[in-house]
Point group: C2
């Protein structure tokens, strides 16, 4: 039985609470003799800054690089608002993405039928919604240089960020989207602002070419990012896979997640390129929701997004697909039984806490 | 009686159809002796490109610059997808914004109670919604340089857009937002991505300072742009005024507009700085909706957004506030009477066409 190297980075806010449920699951799996794990726990984000003055340490980065998968909680919070830019909590997350080469961020937006009423949209618009946002994660305005604030002679400041994309960066993320669409509804919508951005022009050109050359059977639609945001609100079920850049992906995936009413349930995977020698790829898994400082430490956060993210890790990084399927089944069973954390409980339903929800999923396994 | 110089730029798609209703209104006003107008009509967008190979001519720009207000329809459409970037329809709109110095784009998102059921959100979340997005319109990634696609030695391409903001650019748009908030709910939310963008860091810093120095009575909240998009979907009524940059404003205002269910009803104003000598400011008014090529030429477009935009022109640029109020009243009366264009008609309602709706508003005046 292979030992899986798992790096746990709980981070800030509700991060530690939801990652604790992963630890429970790992113990359960080991106790049943289904797999064995070598676990590393590291600080990231504000917690790391408080400990040693950086949002992630080089040693933690080393361990992340050596792991089969990173399970990430969440980072950030008002506590660190005054921290210097290069040491802010988010810098830890961005370094992990960049140094692990995690260019493909997969964000499914699924509406669990049992939860359709928790959506702010009318039920019929989201019931059964199942779309996948494929967000480019290591390029664009997040990492382009120059990225600086300079003080001018008259005392005013001038801030610059650089949105930058090259052909190969767009090529590889487009292929990820088309490959995933093959296994789903065979439809890709590519979102950019080619009417005002040169990166949008190149994005449109490359995605079109890849489709023509390599994926003639996948239906490709180009949509302006602002219109895509509108269409998500108007009629989200029109989409299957949406592929977009780092910044638009940040916003569109949040809109899509919120639409489902299941924000606390949505997992995500960030994947690197396949190593041709080993067939392996670096990977990090994290809930779509943030650190929710307002409810942190109260044991009420919904752990399902994180548990489902662990399910994605089992499947995509650890070769434990059967276990992943069982875990998804267990989540569905628990929801069907009516158990709810506060974020998705409707009037009259008794909400359970983080730990209780995690225990219920394990019991259902 | 002063003569008001009005520049009509109908543009593409449904632009000419909706601007035609403004012409009717102008004639009606003149016939009643309420005001007199000197009208210039110019091509812009794809229509201008088809005519003379540029998205707007220098002569048209001259006339726009000399006008008291520009009434803009809409530009763009698939017909011009292959047009060179610098001559694409949107270039005409961007030149108007830039050369007229229209840095402040006001986009109200109002949900007409009569139309709340046309929203994809649950009625209680949008009924009575009245928020105002103040979008910076002449800076950011829309205009920053370098903005280019270059071909590298190996044949790959590299595209760059530059997001750039200076202290004075943020200062003046923040003041517009705070001044408008004074007349409304006294709350401003400032949206940026300071956790990943240096322009966001500067934006946050300047907006905070202006509030502290000059608007201590206005409540200021800072929100990350991705979270703002989420919150708009979750609970839009929490906002009063949202101030944000050009690109985030593009997306957030489209989301907000779509939420209301009243997209075809929403006007917008783009304003320049006040000329200290004359007290006047350059201004352009346009519907929030786009050129809708799919329904163009069929006489079914909703003209209310454009008529309401003309109302804003009467008020803010032409000193005809009473007339503007009457026009708003007429629109409300027509809606209350049950008249609907196809975009907002619900099952069982007979939809009227563009011209019929325009006539009804005039009849109600
Ligand atoms: C925390 C932040 C840096 C991050 C981002 O902007 O990418 C978050 O919003 C996300 O979507 O994962
Ligand atoms: C047509 C386009 C250039 C424009 C923009 O991106 O600003 C439009 O989307 C808008 O919001 O007015």
């Amino acid at each position: 039985m292979a030992t899986h190297k798992l790096s746990l980075m709980a981070g800030d806010g509700i991060g530690p609470e939801v990652i604790a449920e992963v630890t429970k699951l790992v113990r359960w799996i080991e106790a049943r003799g289904l797999a064995s794990f070598a676990i590393e726990e590291d600080l990231v984000g504000g917690a790391a800054y408080d400990d040693h003055g950086e949002a992630i340490s080089d040693a933690a980065m080393e361990r992340a690089l050596a792991s089969d998968a990173v399970m990430f909680g969440s980072v950030g919070g008002p506590k660190w608002d005054a921290v210097p830019y290069s040491k802010r909590p988010e810098a830890g997350l961005l370094r992990l993405r960049k140094d692990l080469g995690l260019f493909a961020n997969l964000r499914p937006a699924i509406c669990y039928p049992a939860l359709a009423d928790a959506s702010s949209l009318k039920r019929e618009l989201v019931d059964g919604l199942d779309l996948l946002i494929v967000r480019e994660l290591t390029g664009g305005v997040y990492f382009g240089e120059p990225k600086e604030v300079v003080t001018l002679e008259n005392g005013d400041k001038r801030a610059v960020d650089t949105q930058l994309y090259t052909t190969p960066e767009i090529d590889r993320i487009a292929r990820v989207a088309f490959e995933l669409a093959k296994l789903r509804g065979k439809k890709v919508a590519s979102a950019e602002k080619r009417n005002v951005m040169k990166t949008g022009v190149l994005w449109h050109e490359v995605v079109s070419r890849i489709q023509k050359e390599s994926y003639p059977d996948i239906q490709l639609e180009h949509v302006l990012a602002d219109n895509c945001a509108m269409q998500l609100v108007r009629r989200p079920k029109q989409y299957d896979v949406i592929v977009t850049d780092n910044l638009f992906g940040d916003i569109l995936s949040d809109v899509a997640a919120m639409l489902t009413g299941s924000l606390g349930m949505l997992p995500s995977a960030s994947l690197g390129a396949e190593d041709p020698a080993t067939g392996k790829r670096k990977a990090m898994y994290e809930p779509v929701h943030g650190s929710a400082p307002d409810i942190a430490g109260r044991g009420v956060a919904n752990p399902i997004a994180t548990i489902a993210s662990f399910g994605m890790a089992l499947k995509y990084s650890l070769g434990l697909s059967d276990l992943a399927d069982s875990l998804d089944g267990a989540i569905a069973d628990v929801l069907a039984s009516g158990l709810r954390t506060a974020d998705v409980a409707t009037r009259g339903q008794n909400a359970v806490g983080t730990s209780e929800m995690g225990d219920a999923v394990i019991a259902a396994l």
